[in-house]
Amino acid sequence: MAAASLATAARSLLANPLRSFLALLGVAVGSAALIVLVGVGKGSSAAVESRIDALGTNLLTVAPSPTATTAGGERFRLEEGDVKALENRRLAPAVKTVAPILELPAETVSHGTTAVELPAIATEEPYLALRAERLAAGAGLEGGGAGARVVVVGAQLPALLGIGGEPIGQTIDLDGVPFRIAGVLAPNGSTGLQNEEEALLVPLASARQLLDQTDQLSSLLLQARSRAKLGEAQTEVVSVLAERHHLLGATALPFTVLSQGSLLQTATTTSSLLSTLLIELAAIALVLGAVGVANVMLVAVSERRREIGVRKALGARPGDVLAQFLLEAVALCLVGGVIGIGAGIGLSHLRLAGVRPVVAPAVLPLSLAASLLVGLLAGTHPALRAARLTPLGAIRQ
């Protein structure tokens, strides 16, 4: 009975191949979208996690809270003195290294006639080591001595500025001030808004002298002496900064000290929000596919009233007719689902929005199950309509 029913369903669907194809296309698109969008979500999470992992271990990031002020009502700012205090082994014995970070707003960076707007980071030599950045060529930020007009650039920046040949030693202008390229970072495959392949790092001292920057800092990157001392270091940082900024006894500190774990947690939360959003988009695509299938099945019931009447006259129970039309809807959706899975796997080999989708094996049966569910949802109403037709009314049609 099951094989015969499947054969009947296939024959009914093939009787109108174009209509059936268009109906299953909606489900195929939804199914492919599910695989690709879930893959993009996972790929994006994996990229973020790997970048956080690449930051190195035992790291802490200190940054002012966006709207926080000190007890005196002034806006809280990190400054050079904080770096010095935290580097003091007596005040913060669990802190091993501190890298100050000053994020410079997007400036005009040019070479010859090529100019681009790029943000830059003013920092000191430990930054590269703490971020686990490797140099592909040249030296680090202190190659030319304190205050030298040197820059370290991301792997793609020379090409972006139209620098042909060896970039080391070439000069680029940063806000009109010439800087010599001292080093080029190794490619790390990063993409997105903070593309490290296009990074521009300048010595902090040079930024102060040449680019009219004050002694304020955007954030600090610190390394604890060991993973075990991470908590201790965090407490020391809070204590030192609170004392320096007269915050002792304050109920809420105007800065945050984040460990790598909390960064990872924040990133994971963001990624899972993104994944949920993408799954919802895929679900919307599947719902649209279901609407298409339901429409086709309603038309089929209307066109095949006489057939339904004849089947009922021959002894088909309402359940038999219901099962027949439900089977057709499910078969249509499963074929669409299988095509969608194939297309989704194919599309996952492409880089989408800068992300290489990661197809989790679990998403394939999930996609097929979603197609099955779509078939059941889309087929129920038309199948019930068919099952409720009276035999004579249908035959007379």
Partner: protein, 242 residues
Amino acid sequence: MSGPLIELRGIGKVYVSGQLAVRALHDVNLTIERGELLAVVGSSGSGKSTLLSILGTLERPTEGSYRFEGVEVGELAEGDLADLRNRRIGFVFQSFNLLERLTVFENVELPLRYARIRPRQRRARVEAVLAALDLPAFAGRRPAQLSGGQQQRVAIARALVANPTVILADEPTGNLDTVATGQIVSLLRQLNGIGKTVVIVTHDPQVAAAARRVVRISDGRLVGTGGDRAPSATLSRPGEEA
């Protein structure tokens, strides 16, 4: 089994469409015994097809009692009615009503599928009935590849395959030429000869002449329930006396 096969008492049928109500049958009383060959005759719109639909449980009467083999049909649920149609009643329609996407074999097999009969048994029974009706050569063909007479023979094969008690034929020769009409009427008589109850609805007096009993319906009322008589031995040709 004792008692009549079919008993209709006070059957009425009213079709309602919006504000309009049309009475198709009035107080129909009819008893059909096992093994009868009965013709229901009447002009177009007289209610004879409605009567056949009620006999076949394709629709329910709005009033009266219908007992089939002593069972009150009005009390049966839809599923039970489907079983009754499947196991006890064979339909032959004027327009054949074969399913175009199925082969002759598959069309004939349909009632057995709904009776949940195993594939091997289904095949044997379909092959037997096709052989009895001289149709094996057409088993793999589609209905559209057959003549009208051949299609009606396939429809009769489909009506017979589940071994029903009664064959209900609604204008079975309405779409056929004279030669095919003769063949189909002869076939229905043969079925009656082997014990099947046959009810033929027709407006063609020559087809009715083949029946042992003729009942006439006019404006939804039975105007003559007919008595047993000897059917004409052969079908009259147009222009000949019945």
